[in-house]
Assembly symmetry: C2
Homo-oligomer: 457 residues x 2
């Protein structure tokens, strides 16, 4: 929290210096910040201030400015970058690793990104263009193609010399070993180099069994590998097992966060790339389709109520209690759904052990239904003086919570089996179902037992 307070203080100073136009002091202050802190400061500034601060910094310290832009994430970062000319962007893009540059350039408006790629140094733009050829959300897209590799035929001493001469390669903790045609054949570590004599052949101290990712592997799977095997980096190979890049754990952390955000969002019907400060128009465009689908399903549920208008006409009290049945089913379904969807995302739940989960959820659902149904029945009986109304309410709640539990388990598992993200579509199915079943069971039972319900209740 101390770090947050420090950033808030810097933010206040930045705002003040911008207001009084003290550019020299402002530049001085900005240059002292860590890129991650700068990103946080940028995102908290008003649009005009953010652009002013970024311009100022970009002119003086392009690398730091670009690192901050990278930390903002591809969308927000590209938005800020797009305020500059193509020439400037091309120059700035060369200050950061090609994978980060590729992510930013990919998010620029199309004509601008084309112009930028044309203006970049041919070698750099080639690397960036290659990265952009891989599908989004694959290993190829997030890897760093500048991977340091050692030949399998050298000695430990030669390896150390090579490390000493390549001072500018990115931080190396794993040392990947390749054959003469750059096939990945093993891995060793800096530490192990130090533990043996310099004449030892590198082959002798390398581990041949290593975990790698194919360029076309889904980034979520890459993250799962890195996380479950506690890796600091994973080498990326092409279809011939040639080493083409490396993904470091910090990129994996970003993937894990993004995927978690996506899961949280999808359960709520929000697009994965929406953020708190996405412009209102864009948010509206992204949220409206989901609400539109919900409106259709709401009318579907309403039409179930309409089937029983005669019943409601005779016993108005039913209109008072019917949202309780539907709502409680929806809440119980959301609980089940969330546990199941997260279980699938964390890899704990598969078709193989689905029966066990289904059985458990059914027990929990019925138990919840019985307990809460009895409470609701008691309240209905006490306030309305009709035991039958209470019984109908209780029975409808048990039915609806049983349906909520089984559907909340089976729908996400079924979607997963059909290769559809279970988080995406589950919640709209589920709440429609609990509304429809809730209204139908409650009003249906009430119609069946109409003559036992106090008339004009």
């Amino acid at each position: 929290m101390a770090a947050q307070r420090r950033i808030d203080l810097v933010l206040d100073s930045v705002k003040r210096l911008l207001r009084i136009g003290a550019t020299a002091n402002l530049l001085n202050l900005l240059q002292k910040q860590h890129p991650a802190d700068l990103a946080q400061i940028f995102s908290a500034l008003a649009d005009k201030d953010r652009e002013a601060a970024f311009s100022l910094l970009a002119d003086r310290n392009g690398r730091l400015a670009m690192e901050a832009v990278s930390e903002l994430g591809p969308e927000a970062g590209a938005g800020l970058l797009a305020t500059r000319s193509a020439e400037e962007i091309a120059k700035l893009a060369q200050e950061i690793p090609s994978d980060d540059a590729a992510a930013l350039i990919d998010n620029l408006p199309e004509d601008l990104s084309g112009a930028v790629l044309n203006l970049m140094r041919p070698k750099e733009s080639g690397v960036v263009e290659n990265l952009l050829e891989y599908d989004e959300q694959t290993a190829g897209r997030i890897m760093n193609p500048h991977v340091f590799a050692l030949s399998e035929d050298i000695t430990v001493g030669e390896a150390i010399t090579e490390l000493q001469t390549n001072r500018d390669v990115e931080m190396v903790f794993y040392l990947y070993v390749v054959d003469e045609r750059r096939h990945l054949v093993g891995v060793t570590s800096l530490r192990r180099l130090l533990l043996v004599s310099p004449e030892t052949p590198l082959k002798r101290i390398m581990t041949a069994e290593l975990i790698s990712a194919r360029v076309d592997m889904d980034q979520e799977e890459v993250a799962r590998q890195v996380a479950s095997y506690n890796l600091l980096a994973i080498p990326v190979v092409d279809e011939e097992n040639k080493l083409v890049g490396v993904i470091t754990v910090d990129d994996v952390i970003d993937v894990i966060k993004d995927e978690a955000t996506e899961d949280i969002y999808r359960l709520a019907g929000v697009a994965g790339d929406e953020r708190a400060f996405t412009p209102a128009g864009e948010s509206l465009r992204k949220r409206l389709p989901w609400l539109g689908i919900n409106l259709i399903t709401a009318f579907l549920a309403a039409s179930v109520v309409a089937l029983f208008e005669n019943t409601i006409d005779q016993i108005t009290a039913l209109a008072v209690f019917m949202p309780i049945v539907a709502g409680m089913g929806g809440n119980a379904a959301t609980q089940t759904l969330t546990v199941i969807v997260r279980g699938i995302a964390l890899g704990e739940l598969t078709w193989g052990n689905a029966r066990k989960a289904l059985f458990k959820e059914a027990i929990v659902g019925v138990s919840n239904g019985v307990i809460l149904g009895l409470v609701a029945a008691a309240v209905a009986w006490a306030t309305r003086g009709s035991a039958t109304l209470g019984l109908v309410l209780c029975a409808a709640m048990i039915i609806n919570m049983f349906v909520a539990a089984t559907a909340g388990t089976l729908i996400p598992l079924g979607l997963r089996a059909a290769d559809i993200d279970p988080a995406l579509a589950s919640s709209v199915f589920i709440t429609t179902l609990t509304d429809v079943i809730g209204f139908f069971s409650f009003l249906g039972l009430a119609t069946l037992f109409m003559r036992y319900l106090v008339p004009g209740l």
Copy 2:
């Protein structure tokens, strides 16, 4: 996906070998697995099979068995471990790092954990007990206290010798430097040691400015630091800045996943530690309170409907359309809430920039209300032949979606300011509010404009 298929195949073999009692083959197969894969296999087995497989492995290869148990997570891991005697657990616990052992022992039944600590070698149990003294979810609890440190007064050559003689310390990528009283004074890397001559004083190549975590720092904050500064590990210091441990990025990944799960769960009213295979009784106990609160709020909303029973009695069609107003408000509120809660969790949203977010959400809310309200109004008019009913429906939806948007922004921010987790309590407040406002605005407007509504509609 290939990795998953391999694990499924191994799982099938494990089940088969257990069934036919081929323990030698089974042991052979288990010993070839990575701890993370073993954990996945264990969690997919039925309870009896899991215990049998674990027993078998624990007797032969205690370290691997315990690494797998660690990977299962503290709760599930402790559950499996608790099937063994205190003596066996004490012996097995010494096979893994003390932080992992502490997490497991802490989750054992109380009498068993006491017995285990008594039986462990005094030195080891002391370390574990020390760790258990730190609060849960703090840096102290998740750090590894066996941290390798170099004295600031030695040369690079001496540092390399020290590394060569301490072969059993955990993987080192950052080398922390301490003064004679073990105060943390700097950091360097293995790589930098190789780039200078052996006589160089270590002080000369270390970075004095480094990011560290206090033992009492919240683990979520630790994760945020490691993630935003792209660190591979963070040193942990006590209140006097003495180096007491290190937290590596793999532990941070676990924290990030757990915190994401907690956020997802809390939004749905599920306890953070529930998993797909938590026993039914425990799940019921954890979910019931939330549903109980929801039942109370459902009755609150129902009592709003009850206020207007006379109106519904005259125009039954209102009972058909009222769930639409409440439901759409709830859906819109969930979207806003999710974006805001996630924005707070990712550190993008603070009180400082809250006004901007509020303004945006209000615009999106009203726009959604107008668009969807008009559609709903058209449907109501077309199906019921009453333009007034349509207008009342439209107006109520606009009001409710505006309330949903502003409350969906302000409630989580307010809870955060009051130091309550915004994900925890927001959704129950919000859905109650959208139900109450939805019913009240729709039925209230209908009552006001009763004489324009087609009687007996």
